[in-house]
Symmetry: D2
Subunit: 148 residues, 4 copies
């Protein structure tokens, strides 16, 4: 493995601590309508961990997922470069992929970073933002086609 690859690889300990962090945030999930709590933990480029949980609304269309809550919290704190996000939910023995809104939100900050879908039992599968949103509509395009 090259140095670059090693650098991108998260250690098992780090992944586990991110899963723990996402589970902690999941405790504060506000999901009285779906009754489906989700937690997330975002790893910023500088090593900071920022968590999120879903925040629902009586008008369903206003629901903010855990991933977006984490991204918003990170941006408020000045972070815009990320290494990885861990998303934890419980749905039988399935890994729950992020919804399209969240994929696009993550893609706003680059396609080449890692996404870990995990379960409360700490099993996980690893993918990337780019793989979750192939042929994505990305920020640089707008500059290209719509200079205003």
């Amino acid at each position: 493995a090259t140095t670059a690859e090693i650098d991108k690889q998260l250690s098992d300990d780090l992944i586990e601590s991110l899963i723990d962090a996402s589970l902690g945030a999941r405790q504060n999930s506000y999901s009285p309508y779906s009754k489906f709590p989700v937690g997330a933990a975002l790893l910023a480029h500088d090593g900071t961990v920022i968590t999120g949980c879903n925040v629902e609304n009586v008008s369903y269309g206003l629901t903010v997922c855990a991933e977006r809550t984490a991204v918003c919290r990170a941006v408020v704190k000045g972070h815009r470069k990320f290494k990885a996000i861990v998303i934890t939910a419980e749905m039988g023995d399935r890994f729950v992929g992020p919804c399209g809104v969240c994929r696009q939100t993550l893609a706003e900050f680059g396609l080449d970073w890692e996404v870990y879908l995990s379960m409360p039992n700490k099993q996980y599968m690893k993918t990337t933002v780019g793989r979750l949103l192939p042929d994505s509509f990305s920020p640089e395009w707008v500059t290209l086609g719509n200079p205003a």
Copy 2:
């Protein structure tokens, strides 16, 4: 090719007429903020064509893309099974993939149907809902994991 495949294959004439329909709807785009008009044409299972254009809002977060406008129009008219959607936008010589919100909206009605990204010059590339949203979070999961 098997019969099933032939059945799924749209003829060149049909694709062109869908591109034309999407271009027609794009004329009615309400996009004073992005100045980026998009048109869509949805082909329902029974052959009906339903078009859409983007509808923006001064509060950016309320924008509804052309794809979702088309889906909403279709649902109001009782359609919930689709064969294909054509999305037409102009961004240099690039095909513009649908945003994550739209991918998830299309996926609500199945993963196994076709998406054509096209340009005003009628060039197009073909993909599917499932390929645009790998490892998707889909409706049947909810019944599975969250029977409430």
Copy 3:
């Protein structure tokens, strides 16, 4: 009453036909998650009636309400000036006000038009877009403060 006022006043017959139209659209509501079907009927300036119903998504945050569905359909057909919208839902003996997303969507097309909240039994209460969104953030402001 002045001519202008008379012109703005909808006749009882027209209101009832709009309620009927909203009830018809409500039949096509796609609301498997909330199980709360809503219908809407929009009266365009030229007398055209355009209906809508809510279109939900497994990812709650993508839900499009009936009011917005109607507005999107109208815009695709070239309508941008409206006289009134009727919104019909059933929640005991209460009138259900539109959610904030819908209020803002209606306000995109002016504050000075009528909103009728109605029930399947055809009772209704009348208000206006402006009254539902006081001190609104409106399109002309953006031109003012953000000329780009």
Copy 4:
């Protein structure tokens, strides 16, 4: 004034410190598309201050306003009762009211708390969540009308 009223009244110093906090968060606004940075500061029931800024997306419909960013951050930290929110933006000499999405998001946590619209020069006007969303569609209704 009764004790209850006194308790609800924020001191000038507290309001100014909340405006300062919102201005600080506004510095981190991610608004490359609208170029319209907004900051918010939420005062939780226990006196904690939680800030927010707007976080935009190349797909406009995914934009999260400053008010919602603040609410999401608060919920992740376990806060669900609020006394006030300050929202700061700059648009000539106008106070910028929150968009409908934000009004509905605030209303999820009660109608009877204060909203201060402010400017970088620290002028402000005071209103309440309830006044910004009259005849609101509120959480308790759902339990009432839709027990599922």
